[in-house]
């Protein structure tokens, strides 16, 4: 296991503390907020964005925020756990390279399995959405 000592500047007090694998769990702020619609929403949107075009993390965030017309406020970093999950499940592929602006970036690309997964998720989501809509608005068809 990596014994990485992370120097973490703590803004308020300006202390430098060596911290080893900061104990981390379930901070309420990142779990159930208005940002996550439901588990898997973020993954779905990432896959969709990558389907259109391979991108790196920062670009993905920009893309999602723009496309959702800023209705979805995604905490930028929260993308990365989702990306790792997708990587582990082999739904995306990642490789280092240079961006258009000559920055060192890690670009993600959707795989065939990812595409299939995306199709399933979208249709499931559509069904769910329709069901909810019917319940909320019985008049509409």
């Amino acid at each position: 296991m990596a014994t990485v000592g992370v120097l973490l500047p703590v803004g308020l007090t300006g202390l430098l503390i060596p911290v080893y694998s900061m104990p981390v769990v379930n901070m309420p702020m990142t779990e159930t907020t208005s940002r996550d619609l439901f588990p898997g929403a973020l993954e779905m949107m990432i896959l969709e964005s990558l389907r259109r075009q391979p991108a790196h993390g920062y670009a993905l965030v920009q893309h999602i925020q723009q496309r959702s017309k800023n209705l979805l406020q995604v905490e930028e970093g929260s993308l990365y756990p989702a990306l790792q999950r997708l990587l582990k499940a082999k739904l995306v592929r990642a490789e280092w390279g240079l961006s258009s602006t000559n920055r060192r970036v890690r670009t993600y690309q959707i795989t065939a399995a990812g595409l299939r997964h995306l199709e399933q998720q979208i249709s499931a989501f559509d069904r769910m959405f329709e069901g909810i809509t019917l319940v909320l608005n019985p008049g509409r068809s």
Partner: protein
């Protein structure tokens, strides 16, 4: 299986991830700078927009881990590092726990060996011992045993055994060994298989002295026959009679009695050759014990009823020989209730006390832990602020506690194994093979580790409330020095608990010591100073029948001739030795001599003239025997005062009166001896009769030799002289020479052991309390050093300074001691079982406990008090 390559790639993954996230934040920052922010602001804004990067990185990594297992592993490594940083605390904590858990492991092992482990025979749960209904013993006569064996309908088989000491000649020097004489069906009934050769069976018995066979015990075969595999068929001499060795018993079998380890097993029918009793006298109860397996489906109650009916039949058929015969089925191993009950009570009490020690240790560690956690409140606050959940922090603390406790537990267990090995090898009695092999088994290891775990969780839980209430912002702003002024903190409660437990232990120890002292100085009825005993084995050397008395007289004269000897005599047995016998005595006018009409059951000693002088027993009135009180003279006896009271109503009118023995002999009382103790330290006054050995000869011989006080007659010198004299008389006769006090060792063993153990536990409790009080006093003083300095500057006297600094600690000490003393009084009831004469309501005990706790407090607070008194207000205030 695709996680295998993942392990190797993981390092790269983590590095990639870190870099990626860093680059993301840089890109955001550059974007913001392009929009016009300053570098600093842009970087801060980028970080904020990114979110809690530490948390996110952790969550991302978790994708590739088994999170729970790995975070626990992380906790453990973290705990090790933290503990390494404060070695003093770690060593103290680990040692404290090692002691406490080691003590518990030792006691539990002994408890297991004595009470829990089943005997090494087939189906131990259906094996029962036949104990008398009216007393805690299992003695039977041989004809009674045969009747019980043949007439019962509820037992699969009934076997009997007894212990005996014989002279063995196996080619080397003659030696005295302890053997077990067992009925023919003994081995078969117990379902054992011989390790070598064969056993003797019921079919081998054809009446008295018909089966001269030996089965060696495994240990004896190993130590004295050098594992000779051709030992079967060898002939050795027991009491000068030839016996053939048949085989070797299985290892780890030493008979039914747990603590008795005979050298060999011999058929019961051989007893007339090896002892003084025969197989036909129905009233002579020399067979030590009878055990049997219940038939399947039979309950103990049914068996008891069956046996009682046989008892009634025997009573009716032989009224002269039988007393009321009822039975009770008990567990063998500790001879039923005789040892079983006191051992159970003592072990239970001991287990309780060691558990208390463990609790005290946990309390000690708990308060240490709480203090440590308080000192780390800053670290806790920071971790909370950085996003850790309280549960995770608590888990770290618990991990630290469990690491300490498991380490302590393992060390304690190792220590206990060493101690138990030493205990198993210990031979407390030189005269008899009485010892127990105690080796810890899986049960003990498991129990110890479980205890360690629970202790860790217990004292780890102490700072929980503290951690849960930590408000990170308050702590970081104000510093960890802020302390909420509570009335009674958890630490103080724990300290009071510790002190109370220590006081309980100290009280128990003192009660036991007092009880032991009292029983040692009880009125024995004889004087043990400057007295030696010599026990020759006349039978071994061939002195039987008519040759016994002349040899006894020769030995007596030889002893009297040793310079420095004041008086000498002999008897068949002396009080507290193993051969003490009793007999029923009857009023002179008793209608018949059935046992139910007996006036008393009196200890009976067959003594030679001059016994009372040699033994140091005072004659209250009348006379001693002379050599004229022989077979041709009227039958006389000297009785003790209790005997006179019971048979004749008063002591003063007893001289000259008559009483009868069971065989009808009419005996006249010619002297009254003082009362005393004859068999048991704890017995109530018992009647005893001393009869002339000339009139009623008896087999055993014990010489009593009293020396004049003086350096020339020191015990070793006297013993050497006696040995030389005996060897000159007959070089081939084995003799045991020992001080008069030696035979009491068997009786004193229990109380002595109890006192030692309680003393040790008391010491442990005291050490724990001292560290506890010291800790509290030291922290109290160091925290209030400034305040004390101000007090001194304002003119406080020494007394006032001490009161301010240590007042709280002393108050806790007093409260704890009082509580412990009260509890100890109650606990001492348990002790009374083993250490008789131990009454808790003893002013000396109270005084002792108070003194002990005060001394404890003094020792513990000495250093902090010195520190408080030496406070220099100028130096302190300058440091501001």
């Amino acid at each position: 299986m695709n996680w295998i390559p993942n392990i190797f790639r993981r390092r790269k993954l983590y590095d990639d991830l870190s870099e990626e996230m860093r680059l993301h934040r840089e890109e955001r920052a550059e974007q913001l700078m392009r929009e016009g922010m300053s570098r600093n602001d842009a970087e801060q804004a980028a970080r904020r927009a990114f979110g809690n990067s530490t948390l996110l990185e952790e969550r991302s990594r978790e994708v590739w881990q088994w999170p729970t297992l790995e975070s626990i592993g992380a906790d453990v490594r973290f705990a090790f590092r933290q503990l390494r940083r404060s070695p003093g605390f770690t060593i103290a904590a680990v040692l404290t726990l090692a002691l406490a858990i080691g003590a518990n492991a030792v006691v539990f092992s002994i408890l297991d060996a004595f009470l829990l482990r089943p005997l090494n025979v087939a189906r131990p749960s259906s094996l029962y011992e036949l104990q008398h209904g009216n007393e805690a013993s299992g003695y039977q006569s041989y004809p009674d045993y045969l009747d019980l064996r043949d007439r019962n309908r509820t037992f699969d088989s009934l076997a009997a055994y007894t212990a005996n000491e014989v002279g063995l000649e196996a080619g080397g020097d003659p030696a005295e060994v302890w053997i077990e004489e067992a009925s023919g069906n003994y081995f078969d009934a117990l379902g054992l298989q011989p390790f070598l050769g064969r056993f003797f069976h019921e079919a081998d018995e054809h009446g008295a002295n018909s089966a001269p066979y030996i089965v060696l015990s495994y240990d004896y075969w190993h130590t004295h026959f050098q594992d000779d595999r051709n030992v079967g068929g060898r002939v050795v001499l027991l009491n000068r009679h030839p016996f053939t060795i048949l085989g070797v018993a299985p290892p780890a079998f030493n008979g039914i009695l747990l603590f008795f380890n005979p050298a060999m097993f011999v058929p019961l029918v051989e007893h007339p050759l090896l002892g003084v009793d025969d197989l036909t006298t129905r009233g002579n109860r020399w067979v030590f014990d009878t055990v049997g397996y219940l038939k399947p489906g039979v309950t103990p109650a049914q068996a008891t009823a069956d046996l009682n009916s046989i008892g009634q039949y025997l009573e009716k058929t032989w009224p002269k020989d039988e007393n009321k015969m009822t039975f009770k089925l008990v567990r063998p191993g500790l001879y039923g209730d005789f040892l079983g009950r006191p051992v159970k009570a003592f072990m239970a009490g001991l287990m309780l006390l060691t558990t208390l020690i463990l609790l005290a240790a946990c309390a000690n560690l708990g308060s240490l832990f709480a203090a440590r956690a308080a000192d780390r409140s800053r670290e806790v606050a920071l971790r909370l602020a950085l996003g850790s959940a309280r549960s995770r922090i608590l888990r770290t603390l618990f991990t630290e506690a469990v690491v300490i406790s498991l380490t302590g537990g393992v060390i304690g267990l190792i220590g206990s194994v060493v101690l138990l090995r030493a205990f198993s090898a210990w031979r407390p009695f030189t005269g008899a093979p009485l010892y127990v092999t105690v080796n810890p088994d899986a049960k003990v290891y498991l129990a110890a580790l479980l205890l360690a775990l629970i202790s860790g969780l217990l004292f780890g839980a102490v700072p929980v409330r503290q951690v849960l209430r930590t408000n990170p912002y308050e702590v970081i702003k104000a510093g960890s020095g802020s302390r909420t002024g509570k009335r009674i903190s958890m630490r103080e409660v724990l300290l009071v608990a510790q002190i109370a437990i220590c006081a309980v232990l100290v009280t128990s120890s003192l009660v036991a010591v007092r009880g032991l002292g009292r029983s040692l100085h009880a009125h024995f009825g004889f004087d043990m100073d400057h007295t030696m005993l010599a026990e020759p084995d006349l039978g071994m050397a061939g002195y039987t029948g008519d040759r016994v008395l002349p040899m006894q007289k020769r030995m007596l004269h030889a002893m009297e001739g040793i310079p420095g000897v004041e008086a000498a005599s002999f008897a068949d047995a002396v009080p507290f030795s193993l051969g003490v016998g009793d007999a029923k005595v009857f009023h002179d006018d008793a209608p018949d001599l059935r046992p139910v009409n007996a006036a008393a059951n009196a200890y009976t000693f067959h003594i030679a003239p001059g016994y009372f002088r040699a033994a140091g027993t005072t004659l209250l009135s009348g006379r001693d025997f002379s050599w004229e009180d022989d077979q041709n003279a009227p039958r006389v006896a000297v009785v003790n005062a209790e005997f006179a009271r019971r048979l004749f109503g008063s002591v003063s009118t007893s001289i000259g009166r008559y009483y009868k023995l069971r065989d009808g002999t009419r005996i006249q009382v010619v002297g009254i001896a003082e009362d005393g103790k004859y068999y048991n330290l704890t017995e109530n006054p018992q009647p005893a009769q001393f009869v002339p050995i000339l009139q009623l000869p008896s087999g055993g011989t014990t010489l009593i030799v009293r020396a004049k006080p003086g350096l020339n007659n020191a015990p070793p010198l006297l013993a050497a002289a006696m040995r030389k004299t005996m060897r000159e008389l007959d070089a081939g006769m084995p003799v045991i020479i020992e001080a008069r006090e030696k035979p009491l060792e068997v009786t004193l063993f229990g109380p002595r052991m109890a006192t030692v153990v309680l003393g040790v536990l008391g010491l442990m409790g005291a050490m724990l309390s001292i560290t506890g009080i010291f800790g509290m006093a030291a922290t109290s003083v160091s925290r209030r050093l400034r305040e004390l300095g101000i007090r001194v500057a304002l003119g406080a006297q020494h007394r006032e300074v001490l009161q301010a600094a240590l007042g709280r600690a002393v108050k806790l000490l007093v409260v704890g001691s009082a509580a412990g003393l009260a509890l100890g009084m109650l606990a001492a009831r348990v002790l009374a079982f083993v250490v008789n004469g131990a009454t808790p309501r003893d002013p000396l005990v109270l005084a002792g406990v108070v003194l002990a706790m005060a001394a404890l407090g003094l020792v513990a607070t000495w250093i902090p008090a010195q520190r408080a008194l030496s406070v220099d207000p100028l130096a302190l205030l300058r440091e501001e």
